[in-house]
Amino acid sequence: MGKLGVRTTRIILNSVSYVLLVGWGLVAAMPLVWMVSSAFKYSREIYTWPPSIIPRQPTFDNFVAAWTKVPFDWFLINSAIVSLVEVTGVLAFGAMVAYVLAIRRVPGRSLLWVLVLAGLIIPEQVTYIPRFMIVKQLGWINTLQGVVAPYFMSSFGVFLLAQFFQTIPGELFDASRIDGLGEFGILLRIVLPLSQPALAALAIFTWLSSWNNFFWPLLVVINESKRTVPVGLASFFQEEGVANIGHVMAGNTIAILAPLAVFILFQRHFVQGIGVTGLKEVF
């Protein structure tokens, strides 16, 4: 093949690639663009033909309706509290247990490993009914602590951090013991600063899966004011139906802001995180 041939092939290949990239880009984005667009339309415009991406008469009515018909502010606050508490718990206890497993190497740690692996292996579905009964016994039905409780610590978090801690050279700890740092001192001052990529990936994945968790909050929460965003949206949709779909799309638009912002801000960690977590485990 001549030089021109190679270049022509490349140009053709690149063009095909761009056509495919733009094609899937549209498929991936169109439903979400339509969602946002409909959120700003009066109901008479939502179903008109030909469709308009930019609303001809933009309105905030749908947002007002979503905000006043249901306590949307509470959905957001509840989700924020639940997801932040879960992230804090998963990181804090994950780091402590991983430290003991990977660095302290205390006797009996193989039993601890078994417990962690059990957490990775046992499917969550088998725990729902007993967890529900426990939370009920504790009087935590219809409370945020009931939503948080089973997710406050995570074996996956321990596993991920322990994997990472094992790569830290041991001499660092011997030196710091000589310097008189206690166990918590070593964890806080030496281990955690060195583990920022793993902590970031774990934090983001925990946050997103907590924010999007639907099944468990659906079981625990009864009152409207205690609902998290997905549960609130699902019931809002069931109340409003297709007739008031603009209200639902406005609710959706509010609801995607936080996950999308987190994704765009921390995109690097997301991709790295799949490298770290996706290849290891997704729970």
């Binding site: 179903y47 402590m96 990775l120 088998v126 009914i129 007993p130 967890r131 799949i274």
Partner: protein
């Protein structure tokens, strides 16, 4: 430092596991204060006389097989596409990833809105092109394929990123060596990249199967399992029996059967991950 975690796992994991298995051998319902031990009656009923469960099991298999096939084939192609040095590739990767980040409940309402049978956008487009409007989620034959299509749309980029990480680990030396040996780009791809990707592909298949088995929200939000149980899955049945009809014993039996399915996949996944080439 570990005591809280140990206690936590005992309370929220080990005890529930044992208790769920125990409950599955009882006839407990939420309406009754007491329960009786009934042996394997729940399991026998599930597998041999509950038509809805058998239907749900079949639907779940159908959904998992096609969803996984879709995300694996499309995800691999997408990874190859994204692995090129092209201007703006980062932007495309970001946009491709949007459906992964957006919650299932939102995805479900948006697609239901687009696929609304009478005046939804997609049927309007069909009509404008002189094509017949479709019943979509109201149709027994279309509802499940639509669930599958939606799941592929939502999940494919996640698996593409895993494939992409694998592609970027393909040793350049091997590719260069192949070209020195006279292979063209296609041959190098076929004989170096593809075999290198085999373990990653296996992993994606298992991962995607586990995730697909657990999908709940779209069936709950869009169809509630209908029409006529066409989209009833084991997950939804587990929810209905346990938390709507409050048949806790029967629901526990479903949970145990379901978890056995997931467990098999998880154990395969563990095996792949602990094999030497992934260490």
């Amino acid at each position: 430092m570990v005591a809280p975690f140990v206690l936590f796992n005992l309370v929220f994991l080990i005890f529930p596991l044992g208790f769920c298995i125990y409950l599955s051998l009882t006839d407990w319902t939420m309406y009754k204060p007491t329960w009786q031990f009934v042996g394997f009656r729940n399991y026998a009923e599930l597998l041999f006389s509950d038509e809805v469960f058998v239907k749900a099991l079949g639907n779940t298999m159908y959904y998992v097989v096609f969803t996984v096939a879709g995300v694996v084939l499309l995800g691999a192609a997408m990874a190859v596409l994204l692995n090129q040095r092209l201007r703006g590739i980062g932007l495309f990767r970001t946009v491709f990833y949007f459906p992964v980040v957006v919650d299932w409940v939102i995805v479900s309402t948006v697609w239901l809105f687009l696929l609304e049978p009478s005046i939804g956008l997609i049927n309007q487009v069909l009509r404008a092109n002189a094509l017949p409007a479709q019943p979509f989620f109201n149709s027994r034959s279309q509802a499940m394929p639509l669930m599958i299509g939606m799941s592929i749309w939502k999940g494919v980029a996640y698996y593409a990123i895993i494939f992409l990480a694998g592609l970027q680990d393909v040793p350049q030396v091997l590719l260069e060596q192949a070209q020195i040996d006279g292979a063209n780009r296609w041959q190098a791809f076929r004989h170096v990249t593809v075999p290198w990707m085999a373990p990653v592909t296996l992993l994606v298949i298992v991962l995607a199967s586990i995730n697909a088995l657990r999908v709940f929200s779209p069936m709950y939000v869009i169809t509630g399992g209908g029409p006529v149980n066409a989209t009833m899955t084991v997950m939804l049945l587990l929810y209905n029996q346990s938390f709507r009809y409050l048949e806790m014993g029967y629901g526990s039996a479903i949970a145990v059967v379901f978890s056995a399915l997931v467990l098999v996949l998880v154990l395969i996944q563990r095996r792949i991950l602990s094999s030497p080439e992934n260490a």
